[in-house]
């Protein structure tokens, strides 16, 4: 691919991204470029700094140094909610549902963003039932239709993850950041969510952290390998899996 075209195609980029925690450098000068329309995987041993990267890219953490660009615009100084409003929606490594809302309400709270802000405390929540049909369709899409009325906190771990994806998708994000979407899922769920991710990637970009390497190999167009807070390698699955340093980092960390 020509450099000019590739450059134009970058939806999210980071230059020299660094995060120091009280004398400890969790992310160190990371350069990242995510191509529009691709599925980009961020992998690496435990503690490599993947989640910290996500937190920096979505501004849940303030970078110690570095710049972040989304669609060519410098978003380094924006708030997390502002970044979300630009169409960059993240999920969390630890399942992030709204436990005391129903499954349907979980998805609906994302759809509710279409109204803009919801400061109208004087209006009945009946106005939200306009979103119910869409919410139910999306709940069904991740195989949770039977649980639409259940409280999200009562779901099994795998189902919570599925609900989380449905909620993230409900915002129709331009860029999705998924932090270990398949962690803790059974084979069947992994297959279903993989298929879902592939399907939804058709008109959006996905940056995901995933430990399940067969999923990574199967889904991703490009892979960045992180170790000790630094980029170790980048390329296609074939390229990085053959890289000696990558193999060593994984074996060194007791993986595979």
């Amino acid at each position: 691919m020509s450099t000019a075209a590739a450059k134009d195609d970058i939806i999210l980029s980071a230059q020299g991204l660094t995060k120091r925690f009280a004398g400890f450098v969790a992310v160190n000068g990371v350069d990242l470029a995510v191509r529009r329309g691709s599925i980009h995987a961020l992998i690496g041993p435990n503690g490599a700094g993947k989640t910290t990267c996500f937190n920096l890219l979505t501004k849940f953490l303030q970078p110690s140094a570095g710049a972040i660009r989304f669609n060519g615009r410098d978003i380094t100084s924006l708030s997390p909610a502002a970044i979300a409003r630009l169409g960059v929606i993240r999920s969390f490594q630890i399942s992030a549902v709204f436990p005391r809302l129903t499954v349907l309400e979980n998805v609906r709270i994302a759809l509710q963003r279409r109204r803009g802000d919801s400061f109208d405390f004087w209006r009945s929540e009946k106005v939200l039932s306009a979103f119910d049909e869409d919410a139910l369709r999306r709940v069904d899409e991740v195989g949770l239709a039977d649980y639409a009325a259940a409280e999200a906190g009562d779901l099994s771990y795998g189902r919570k993850r599925a609900l989380e994806i449905a909620t993230t998708l409900a915002l129709e994000p331009e860029l999705m950041l998924l932090d270990e979407p398949m962690a803790g899922m059974g084979q069947e769920d992994v297959a279903r969510i993989s298929a879902l991710i592939r399907r939804i990637s058709a008109n959006r970009t996905i940056l995901m952290v995933e430990h399940n390497l067969s999923v990574v190999a199967d889904l991703s167009d490009r892979i960045t390998v992180l170790a000790r807070g630094e980029v170790l390698a980048e390329g296609t699955y074939e390229e990085v899996s053959g890289d000696a340093r990558v193999i060593e980092a994984y074996i060194g960390a007791g993986h595979e």
Binding site: T58, F60, S79, P80, A81, A84, R85, I89, R90, S91, F92, A96, V97, F98, P99, R100, L101, T102, V103, L104, E105, R108, I109, A110, Q112, R113, R115, D117, S118, F119, D120, F121, W122, R123, S124, E125, K126, V127, L128, S129, D132, E133, A135, L136, R137, D140, G143, A145, D146, A148, A149, T167, L171, E188
Partner: protein, 324 residues
């Protein structure tokens, strides 16, 4: 595993609108309160209602916003002082005195809330407590609060110029009307698009942020609403007892209203009402035990925390499998 798309929405999938049993309980309570002043002392009942509103205001913040304020006496107390002062010294009619007291609480809530919501969890509670202590010392020192004596012999006046509130029974129905209005307002807030976001923030704040909600604004908004309603309760209380004193702004008042909310069941609609009735009833009927009331109150709290953490109404709600 393929799941057929259900043709219709499961009935309870979205808890939309007032469930019928809520309406029923509301009317039953209203009916009881319409009859009650002919059986029990109206002043006692008015006190219960003021604290029921106060606890419900706290519950709006704690049970639905997930924010534990340990300084709600500040809003209750400042409103009591302002309404007592404006009614007595300025000679304002009760409706204006109550309005000004409530407005003062709203302003104070905006100031303290703006600073407190930057902190999370226990730090939030500590900040609210610290500010409430400042309000207490201000009340102790300020010239218009009457220091240790408070503002006494506050005239109840005539509502709208012609309803004489000196009559306990008359005042009772006015208080009932105001408190019912306050409760309906809280109910609506909880069951509004705003309330839905509020519950999401309570359940998972980072996730709400990641969906694009500016959570600080929602938290500040509910903080001000809660402070305002607590102020409304304090303003009425000052006229009912014709007294505003340091007790109203003391930290034990903040603790008591938290106790009422937890005992009744935080995050339930009717819990704070029950909690307030139990605590005020105890203080009233066990008054002869003197200082032992406090000990008894403490024991009840410990027992309720150990036996039913969800509070009285929370437990009942679980039994009948319906949100109350």
């Amino acid at each position: 595993m393929a799941v057929d798309a259900p043709a219709t929405l499961p009935n309870s999938a979205a808890k939309v609108g007032a469930p019928r049993h809520h309406t029923l309980v509301f009317f039953a309570l209203l009916l009881i309160m319409l009859v009650a002043p002919f059986v029990l002392y109206p002043v006692f009942l008015m006190k219960v209602m003021c604290f029921a509103l106060f606890a419900s205001a706290l519950n709006l913040l704690l049970g639905f916003g997930g924010l534990l304020s340990f300084g709600h006496a500040a809003y209750f107390g400042i409103a009591a002082y302002v309404s007592a002062y404006t009614a007595k010294v300025w000679g304002l009619p009760p409706e204006l005195a109550i309005l000004l007291g409530t407005a003062a609480a709203a302003v104070l809530g905006l100031l303290i809330g703006a600073l407190a919501i930057r902190r999370q969890g226990i730090y939030f509670a500590m900040v609210t407590l610290a500010f409430a202590q400042m309000v207490y010392f201000f009340s102790l020192q300020a010239p218009f609060t009457g220091g240790e004596d408070g503002i006494q012999a506050v005239p109840r006046g005539r509502l709208f110029g012609f309803i004489d509130l000196a009559n306990d029974l008359t005042f009772y129905f006015v208080v009932l009307a105001i408190v019912t209005g306050g409760m309906l307002a809280i109910y609506r807030i909880i069951h509004s698009p705003f309330g839905q976001v509020l519950k999401a923030i309570r359940d998972n704040e980072p996730r709400s942020t990641s969906l694009g909600y500016k959570v600080d604004r929602y938290k500040l908004a509910v903080f001000v609403m809660s402070a305002t309603l607590a102020g409304l309760a304090g303003a009425i209380k000052a006229l009912v007892f014709q007294l505003a004193s340091l007790t109203d702004v003391h930290w034990t008042m903040s603790g008591e209203v938290v106790l009422m909310t937890l005992l009744g069941g935080m995050g339930t609609i009717f819990g704070p009402l029950v909690g307030a009735a139990v605590i005020i009833g105890m203080q009233n009927y066990f008054a002869s035990f003197g200082a032992w009331v406090t000990v008894l109150q403490g024991m009840i709290f410990v027992i309720s925390v150990l036996l039913f953490r969800e509070g009285i109404v929370g437990v009942i709600s679980r039994w009948i499998k319906k949100p109350l």
